[in-house]
Symmetry: C2
DNA sequence: TGCTATAGTATCCAAAATGATACTATTGTA
DNA sequence: TACAATAGTATCATTTTGGATACTATAGCA
């Protein structure tokens, strides 16, 4: 009872680990619905391959929905599923902490420089 | 204004990404103070090298405090710093979401099997 | 004397994640 | 006719992570 298991944390890591997934999810959270290239343009350094593969994995986890319009040139829209919205608290806490951590690191660097 | 930047998320990923860091942090959150080998025993598959290196990185980010007792055999205690406590909301939201996501995946697997 | 325990390092290797680049099909437009 | 735009794949190369293993020092104990 004393040491709660970290199993949940491991599952979460498994579903959203990687350099890109939280970023992709953040954009979908902010913009609701985005086309493939729109996502690509909002994430400057991502390659097509990475964007595709990360979206596929998120789809597999039912976090992201993929809607294909049968037209040419292709149109594919991505969005968080209803279920996927449940991941928003993680994204928000990461965003909040990360922003303040950035300031923390900066402050510390400046203090070091002064010595 | 419309598209909030994901910079915070990137910083957070940078500080706590990896297979082990969130797990280590979770244990420190639960147990407050842990010796090196105590941590190692609570994380079954981690190697000494990974535990050491991940702790060092967390120390670098001022999230984890390392207290060395000058004695032999060595005694080193790890704990979250006051500052490091600020990361707890991320850990808790990951733990919560991960736990329910695990059930979600299970439920879905069973439904697939029934078809 | 030889063994255990602790908290590490050092070195080498394997595997996983990511990146670069070229390629696809089809429609509309200049 | 040639080119742009879309949402991809396929292939290969590189980088990053992580793992296995052997090694260290020293006190206390049998």
């Amino acid at each position: 009872m004393e040491d709660k298991t970290c199993h949940g944390v491991e599952v979460a890591i498994d579903a959203m680990a990687g350099k890109w997934k939280p970023i992709i999810l953040f954009h979908l959270m902010e913009n609701k619905v985005m086309r493939f290239n729109e996502l690509k343009r909002s994430i400057p350094n991502i390659t097509q391959k990475m964007l595709t593969s990360q979206l596929r994995e998120l789809e597999y986890h039912h976090i992201v929905h993929r809607k294909v319009y049968p037209q040419v040139p292709p149109k594919v829209e991505y969005s968080l599923t209803d279920y996927g919205q449940s991941i928003i608290p993680i994204l928000k806490s990461m965003q909040k902490w990360g922003t303040s951590h950035f300031e923390h690191l900066n402050k510390n660097d400046k203090e070091q420089a002064r010595e």
